[in-house]
Subunit: 682 residues, 2 copies
């Protein structure tokens, strides 16, 4: 995410220039937007007589999905429906799937569906059960209400995904995430039609799967925080029920310290090894020169292959620093003997061995883009994390590709930032065959700075914006409409138990209580967000795996709604040239509230130590408020704007975004906009 | 809970009369209040160097408890401590337990402890690990903060419980509660020093335990919602780690329909049987005349005894309506043959057989107070649910007793209501031996109207008030101080994952979104509470086990803080005779906010159908606000009060509490108080 600050501002200004807003066909509150959507006439009313019939192929998976859907519909509407599907062709919703879909879902699964809602009934048809699952989520997203109650609007939807691989990486290695977190994440993914959980299960900081064959892996490498085999099976089944594949990642040969705590003999160094508590790139690396290593890996993968049915297997392969390889005379000798020019070549050798093992177990290799090499087996899929620019090299070399670089949720970028990046922009200049090798993308939720209590707030709702880039046609790219639908989507995601909506309140209750300080800090977090991943890494000295994630930065959310809302307010002010006094009044009220926060936050910090982290950002907000008042006066012509004032205001704002400690202000850009458009007296 | 409305008002007025407030020794934010508490001089500062040493007996249970406590302390303070206890006598906290405590905890376990905090170090000593667990919770409750950070105040605490049996009944029969709900409930119970989870595991509406011997129990009686034996073992271990016993209840001979879905041959009727979906007393009853029934029960208890190590076994025994017994000629003949005068006598016969079976399995019987009978085995413990008046009869007959009647959380009474009832009031006139037979009490969370998403909000924080009645000396009864500490306790309970604090927000986000309607409905729920259990049973026609618990009444919380806060405000107004204008100003601002709510709620109901339930209670609030303004004018002497005005105001208020649909206003009493004290012009 290398977009410069200045570019960001320019894009913001362009996006908001009145009159340039893209004309958007009706998208209702659907997210991702379907391929074809047309509104009909009338409404299908929902009441307790609402029934569902399965008239086509149906199986237990579809049956359970219908029960879940009816349960969500019931909870949302407080209507009590008949608890199970009825075999009644006069039902209000008729679901006709043609077939089960693949026994083991792959990237070639047909996920298409057609949904027709008419005032008397709705019909969902799909070639597979997975397509029907996607259509059922669309149906739930269509539910609306008016003064007469709940209804489905008449629509015709024809839908299918743009990309077949639409994933989320969850890093359970650095901070363990309990099964209930994984399961509610899967529910959320299903809501926005994602289909791959990329489960990062081992890293320097933890080995998270129970091995019966090599019990010291979890026994010494996990602090007791690992998934049992029964839990793995349950998660895989839970995911399949929702049309989601589970691709495990066991990172090797690097990022592998936790393996060696119990089994130091497979490492390239001499050990002993201990679980790593900090973040970064570490030396411990598998020894690619020993046959015993490959035997170990073969047996391990053999055991795990019984748990993870997906045809793909992620080997990691990233950030191998070569320190242990260079330090080991036997490995240096091996490199010479085999004419391996460097450590990259040695890693290719390792990957070729690994690839053969995977093939024997019926698995296809996926790895991070460091594995790309002329000698990489053609079947390997390469996941680009270092930049979009790695994508063309991958597909031109004949490999298939998954794009992650612009979709790192841990970077704490805005939904807009992610949404800006098309996974397959024309600018790449790919041929149709090359473009077809781009399977899709994955958002990445790396675990350094998130734990079970914060992960929902870091994944959601921003992941929905990424999901849309991967499902919807490339033409769906209006940011205004995205944010409108994201707000509705965010609420719906709460239905399946995700906790992002109440996240800040929950942590602030613990940090500052529930008196006036709570309101103060809620107001501050409404306009603040965490610093970027890199900033936090640099600034939070001594942070380890044991550092509690209960500071103010943890209570804050990336891209809080007030960012977009305040930009929109400025846009409205400028669009009607100040003819509507209510808009300026709203802005003044907003600035007034900001102006009052520094004193309130200072006072809160005296009573509640954890509020202290908010003092610098509150002080900055006070300065932004002062500039806001001055700029508004000048935009409205009450006070003449001068170049000197504008320079001073810019300087104030330049420093206001932050970081201020571990927080950044999100409302500097709208005020900057006011400053820039104020007419200067020559 | 038979306190009349008028009595309630009088008590309120008395409790609030200035000058009569009881003088309370410093209780800090401790809940329950310890037996002896004296403040020392100075503060023990908490920073990342804080260490713990175990110098006495210690075992894995105590070790895990210390890890949990340090983790909670770390999350609360955002300090990173050394992750495990250090064997260092110079530690900041020295824990010295003398012994492990009972291998299977009973009501005779020693739970006492002594805690001394001095500026340089703290010492916790206890005769058992369980006592140390109690002391650790006190330690966590002592943590406070000032502008320099977190600290423990210097104190001397000597503590032990007033009653040895302090429980919570959780009804998993009517609505299933997943293991994570049970576990976080246990964490909350440990925080307030409760020691018995009474787990109601079977009822007409569901059989919730996996039996391997009789798999049709859960197979046909649970809708698939049951605890596996592995889960039961995990919960029992989780509870033991926290010094909490698990007493299972398998209700018999009545409340037993779910048993008979799979095994109709043990019932008194002819069947077939189906899981009951509604609430009340139903006919299906074990057949007490068949030997096969006792063989079945014997084998079942034999299987379950391996899962539940507690020496007590709750047989239920309540609400046997005798319909099946009267209808069955063979049972009538059996009654005559054995000279059993009536069905009560037949139930005694059943209980005697059951008692012998329990004895053979090493279990002592507990039952609801219907089981009390001259022929009841002397070892049986009787749990009084129908009224305090059943308690004396129990203990005078030589049985031991547990009191639950005043502590029914599902009744939706206030914490104050529960707190008002001493478990062993002098007025009972018991001898010391009789009084000693009162083992304690249990709060009851019956499951008709609660599910996993609402149960936290129904149990907490009110249970903490009941817990205090059972732990603290009888002299601890100041309601003002209780509510002050309850607020702090409620926040701390959020630390272990309980969701009551954010409950209304979470459900309202789903019901009305997160725009202005959310603020409107939050304001309404701040002054509203659910109707009583009986009212909801009568008014929500057609409610079943499948009815979604997502209406406005479910988002509301019993006894919201605004009730006590508004009473306190009126008290302060009257205490200083209106000399502080700010108090009256605050009241006027409060009434102004109330006055605005009806229009806002009406508007919300148009947009969000589930907000519609709030319209009647909002309208009533508007009327209360009008009375409030008028009464305040009269109390302040701005307008003369007349008898006619007062009569009219009283009439308005009499109808304002409600119920209004499924909601009641909680802020009528404070306004009534203003009306009553307004000086009448003669």
């Amino acid at each position: 995410m290398a977009r410069s600050f200045v570019l960001g501002i320019l894009l913001t200004l362009i996006a908001f220039r009145p009159g340039t807003r893209q004309s958007v066909p009706s998208t209702l509150n659907l997210m991702p937007v379907p391929r074809v959507l047309s509104l009909g006439e009338g409404r299908l009313r929902l009441d307790s007589s609402f029934t569902v019939a399965l008239t086509g192929y149906h199986d237990a998976r579809l049956g359970r999905a219908v029960v879940r859907v009816m349960d969500r519909l019931s909870r949302r509407t407080a209507l009590t429906f008949s608890p199970s599907p009825v075999p009644d062709s006069s039902a209000h919703l008729v679901i006709a799937a043609a077939a089960a879909g693949q026994a083991i879902q792959t990237e070639t699964e047909d996920e298409s569906y057609t949904l027709d809602v008419e005032p008397a009934r709705a019909a969902l048809t799909a070639p597979t059960v997975v397509g029907a699952l996607r259509g059922l989520e669309t149906l739930l997203q269509l539910v609306a209400s008016d003064s007469a109650g709940f209804y489905l609007p008449a629509v015709h939807v024809e839908d299918a995904p743009r990309f077949p691989w639409r994933g989320l990486l969850v890093d359970a290695g650095r901070h363990f995430e309990p099964v209930e977190v994984i399961e509610r994440t899967l529910d959320g993914m299903a809501e926005v039609k994602l289909n791959v959980l990329h489960w990062h299960l081992s890293d320097d900081q933890g080995f998270r799967v129970e091995s019966l064959r090599y019990p010291l892996l979890q026994g010494k490498g996990s602090d007791g925080l690992f998934y049992t085999q029964a839990q793995i099976r349950a998660v895989v089944a839970y995911a399949r029920d929702r049309g989601i594949r589970v691709v495990p990642e066991f990172d090797m040969p690097g990022h592998a310290t936790s393996w060696f705590v119990g089994y130091p003999r497979y490492a390239s160094g001499t050990g002993p090894y201990a679980i790593v508590r900090t973040w970064g790139v570490f030396d411990p690396t598998f020894d690619p020169t020993r046959e015993s290593v490959y035997l170990f890996i073969d047996r391990f993968i053999g055991e795990m292959a019984a748990l993870f049915p997906d045809p793909y297997w992620h080997i990691g392969g990233d950030e191998v620093n070569g320190v242990e390889w260079d330090a080991n005379p036997r490995i240096r000798a091996f490199r010479r003997l085999h004419h391996l020019a460097d450590n990259a070549a040695l890693q290719v050798y390792f990957n070729q061995r690994l690839s053969r093992i995977l093939t024997q177990h019926g698995k296809r290799m996926v790895g991070w883009d460091e594995i790309l090499n002329p000698d990489l087996p053609a079947t390997a899929v390469v996941q680009s994390w270092r930049g979009v620019e790695y994508l063309p090299a991958t597909v031109r070399s004949g490999h298939r590709a998954i794009l992650s670089a612009p979709y790192y949720l841990d970077h704490m970028d805005s939904a807009e930032d992610h949404y800006y990046f098309d996974p397959l922009p024309d600018t790449l200049g790919l041929s149709p065959e090359e473009a077809a090798r781009v399977l899709g993308g994955e958002a990445c939720m790396w675990g350094e700075h998130v734990g079970p209590e914060t992960i929902d707030s870091r994944i959601w709702p921003r992941l929905a914006a990424v999901a849309e880039k991967l499902w919807s046609p490339a033409s769906v790219r209006d940011v205004h409409d995205m944010y409108r639908r994201l707000a509705a989507t965010s609420l719906r995601l709460g239905e399946v138990g995700l906790r992002h909506q109440e996240h800040s309140a929950r942590l602030l209750h613990l940090e500052v209580g529930n008196g006036p300080d709570f309101q103060t800090m809620m107001a501050l977090l409404a306009v603040s967000q965490p610093v970027t991943f890199g900033q936090r890494n640099r600034m939070e000295e001594g942070m380890t795996q044991q550092t509690p994630l209960t500071r103010l930065v943890d209570a804050a959310r990336p891209d809080p709604p007030a960012r977009w809302a305040s930009l929109t307010l400025i846009e409205r002010l400028l669009a009607d040239s100040g003819r509507t006094p209510a808009i300026a009044d709203t802005l003044r009220a907003m600035f007034t509230a900001w102006r009052g926060l520094p004193a309130a936050v200072h006072a809160a910090a005296v009573r509640a130590p954890l509020a202290g982290d908010g003092v610098p950002v509150a002080d900055a907000l006070g300065r932004v408020a002062a500039v806001g008042f001055a700029a508004l006066d000048r935009v409205q012509g009450r006070t003449p704007a001068t170049v000197a004032w504008q320079d001073s205001a810019r300087a104030t704002l330049d420093s206001a975004t932050g970081p201020h400690g571990l927080l950044r202000l999100v409302v500097v850009d709208p005020v900057r906009w006011l400053v820039e458009v104020a007419p200067i007296r020559q």
